[in-house]
Symmetry: D2
Subunit: 346 residues, 4 copies
């Protein structure tokens, strides 16, 4: 089969690979119908993710059709249409019992990282009963691809951890796909204000269309002052970090209100300064989280009910044999204005 393979820092190729086979009785083989590319895939390609070794098929998102199911799989049979979670979970380990699937002792984020992923014609999904979701009849499969990773990530790491609440004030730093996913899902809770902060006016304009009540271009260094002014000097109840660099995290520190929360989503490669000399007495909470995808059933419900339209995040579509072009488009988002790119089976 064809697969997009990581070949080491800066290198990738569309290669021929053997079709995966069942390795455990709880495995399923899925034939992909649609997949996508994540910012994390770009991190891997830069060589920033040491757990992912050359030779790995990338990708941890997608929808498809069950091709084969192991004998201990209870929920799925060949022919079933399924949503693939970016997180694999055994359901029974100490972390899974706490609904912290991200830290499953035999799962977590392994797809396209420590085992072969979804940017291929077929993929093996371990712990299939916990790691796949049946696709409801009539569901829009493109929209569902957004539920593999980006929507639960924005929601769990940003909105839930950030305790977004009716009438509250939210700032989201970073209007990329993840920040916009947080923006979409924050609206489940009717906050009074959602202030979107980014350097790119195009993305800020998009944020306004997606429901931001205010936008701030942080390029001039005045973002903290602007946010404080807009919040009557109080700061925001929730500051969501959706970039992953020290400057944006520290921006969150400077705008969080007493009693507020900084919810980190960004993947950080270096330490940041935590200004406890200002924050020690401010009753703030800071959270980190690798998405657990515990919210996937809920997101499926809201999608089915029409309470959210994640297709708005999709800007481009490619056939699988043009996946290298898809990478180009996604990697140059500033010029292509790409958010999420859908890659379809031939």
């Amino acid at each position: 089969m064809k697969a997009l393979v990581y070949l080491g820092p800066g290198a990738k190729a569309l290669e021929d690979r053997p079709k995966p086979v069942l390795a455990a009785p709880t495995d399923v083989i899925v034939r992909l119908t649609r997949t996508t590319i994540c910012g994390t895939d770009l991190h891997i390609l830069k060589g920033d993710v040491p757990t992912c070794q050359p030779g790995r098929i990338l990708g941890h998102e997608g929808v498809g059709i069950v091709d084969q199911a192991g004998p201990a799989v209870a929920t799925f049979k060949p022919g079933d249409r399924v949503l693939i979670s970016c997180i694999s979970a055994c359901g029974t380990c100490v972390y899974c019992r706490k609904l912290m699937y991200s830290h499953c002792t035999t799962g977590g984020w392994i797809l396209g990282n420590t085992i072969d992923g979804t940017q291929a014609e077929f993929v093996r999904i371990p712990h299939a009963d916990m790691s796949l979701y049946p696709i409801p009849d009539g569901a829009d499969e493109e929209a569902l691809v957004m539920l593999s990773d980006i929507l639960p990530t924005g929601f769990e790491c940003g909105v839930l951890n950030g305790k977004v609440a009716p009438g509250s004030t939210v700032a989201i730093v970073g209007a990329g796909p993840i920040g916009l996913a947080a923006l979409l899902t924050a609206q489940f809770y009717a906050p009074a204000e959602i202030i979107m902060i980014d350097l790119d006016d195009n993305r800020l304009e998009m944020a306004t269309r997606f429901g931001a009540t205010a936008t701030v271009n942080s390029g001039d260094g005045n973002a903290p002052a602007t946010v404080m002014k807009r919040t009557g000097g109080r700061g925001v109840d929730t500051a969501i970090e959706a970039v992953g660099i020290p400057a944006t995290f520290e921006l969150c520190e400077s705008i969080v209100a007493p009693g507020g929360t900084i919810a980190n989503i960004g993947v950080h490669g270096t330490k940041v300064d935590l200004h406890l000399e200002h924050l020690w007495d401010r009753n703030v909470t800071i959270t980190t989280r690798l998405v657990d995808t515990v919210s996937t059933p809920m997101l499926l419900s809201t999608l089915r009910a029409g309470r959210i339209d994640p297709k708005r995040l999709i800007t481009h579509r490619f056939k699988f044999d043009r996946i290298l072009d898809a990478y180009e488009t996604f990697a140059h988002a500033a010029s292509t204005r790409a958010l999420k790119v859908i890659i379809e089976a031939q």
Copy 2:
């Protein structure tokens, strides 16, 4: 009246001052029967607390007897025995309505900071209905002095924020009075392990007597390895920082388990390194808090019920005219083995 007055960095004196008078209809004047000294008073004396200006009477803890009550005070009348909260709260501002009394817009930590405090014969207490508590008949007043600040601080900032729970694993970094108050109140929740970490073997020995299940002297730099080994490589569910310097905060970062919480109590004078490159995907929570004293009624109940014995924190007693000696004793805790010192009216 006699009062202990801050005269600028490094300087204090026992002076004669006029007795305070009612300034608002919601004020009460309390005649102190017992007060104590807090680590924060030492910070002020070092010049580290710019809000506290020379000339200020120090002290934010104590018990006493109502001397005068303003006309709008509903709960107290002259002669009532009262516990003074270190936090003054109006009860009606936006923060008080969220039970964040520490950030009351006309209160918070003002006693012995921005208004005259309790290390005197009399003190004026603003917002008295919210900031004083009636002392139950037969209560031990010495024990109650521990409820002005140290017990609610250890409990709210450390134990509650740290989500200490039955069967969980807790580490407390810093076995001074605040760390020991956290140790005492952590036991409200029956954690399986409470590991106490400090540099001072005397204090660690005391921690064992107060209920620590293990102690670690961090002097050799191996504390993180020791804690990880003791917790089966997993780390602790709750790490309570009760010192206030970068090294101890970073120790907490290194021992918190996935899904765990770092609850900061320490007063920090400088920034710390937050290692998001390790923590971004660990599902951890970090909290800061200035005590709100919302738990004071609960602490009074547990005290009355004999579920806690805060008198164990008291090591020395002085009459008020020897308060300078009390400061000496408290400031040299390593040699005097002082925890809390009680200062009694003559």
Copy 3:
């Protein structure tokens, strides 16, 4: 001044009464600009509320202008425009400290019950700092009248207690003003389904316009079966009782899913059958609540942000001298299709 006075079961009159005077330093006298009538006022008129004695001026909702403020009132001064909460709260008693203002030991629901109320030209408001809210500039005062009682009641007793959540399934039994207020505020949480149940097709049609995703006329006795079918045999996550009779409460018992919640809003005059023989092992929660109005600041924020439009609940308007007509219209809602009636100062 003119006032609507309860004269005993079945009897009321528009009478001349003396203007109220300040009785405590924390009181405010408000000149009403708008008030309304509540279902509870009809209960009183039936003689069902023994705490309310003949001679009482009715009404516990309204907006107005501060006429006089007691010397201990910190927040309000004559001329301020204010929203009156149906609940008076001292802020300092054991219940207020738990944010259970409904049970304030010197407040709670007293207006138009145990002290004179708002269906008059002037009203005395005790504990004014906690019981009035400043009206934001440019706010629509008609909409604000809905925040005195009906919106916080639907929200706190129904939506919050019922734990309405994104993607969840909700049934609201009773499409009167309170049920519709629950319907409006339930949408803060993006539930997947809100099924409205009533006997009156007009009200159900209105519920559809207000955001119900399904409606069920329970007149044929098949409501439980219909709801179970619609929810795939599982039942609803949240069943909100907004009527106050045994039949509607027992309907809730029959449609709540395992793990679900029955949130009672209705004012009950008699016991109901609790079918523990069916429910003991269903992991259900049942809640009761007199509104605390702790959500008023939040509701003001969502109103200001345009996240909710409570004016939709207003169907009729009357000048104050026609308040008896307003009562007629409100009391015959089936024929007049009245929800909330606004009564304006002359």
Copy 4:
């Protein structure tokens, strides 16, 4: 093998039965070393549990040694010592994902109910990875038998649902084994008061030894008045119903404080009167629950840490061939003073 078999209302026998065999790849066969009898077994024998049909081997508690493990069992192998949970859970269904194992669509309480149980030499455990727990080295197996059902039931249905908290006031109605299990585990949270209510002075005396701060014999009908007096007229924060009849549930209704919780543990065979005419405005919560055994890992931790001593619940011991005597002893608790009886393998 020998097994205790239910033969229809009023009838049981110790019979020879074939040893169970693996029926699914996720099954384990356990050789019992210790089991016990539950009040629910007596209910079955009265014919009150229609799901349990004649011919069924009873019992849902016990510890033992793994005899055989299905090919898809990840955690256990022959020879492992295991604790059996009374609840079987697949871990992947909609209820298991919410940690509501009691409602697992292919599990829940099935042992000794809809499939053969643990009062036998061997038992088949479905969904073994989720339904068995490894026994820590050196653990006391008798104590562990209390963790199959009675401790998690008292804790989850009574203490957790009842929101027992430091300094709070608790009443437990019913001092049988379940009520005493609630009493033991309530002490994880340091409540100020635990008032035990029963008709049997022997059990009340035992409750005092187990940590009750007060006891009330409800035989004279004055229990509500006594509790109200003892709580200063306020009632209890938590009322735990551990009997299962209308009178005891209604007693809970009469003593719960405003804002309090009634946590039902009792198995009810008939409806009860819910006095909403008194409770509608009292801000109370009523909960029901079939134990989920989600707290088993935590209970194992507290047991290992010595924070609880469940062996105190064990009053009698029998060899397996005398299980009929064990039933006699357990069924006549008033005269035998039996709480839990341990039945040991020969």
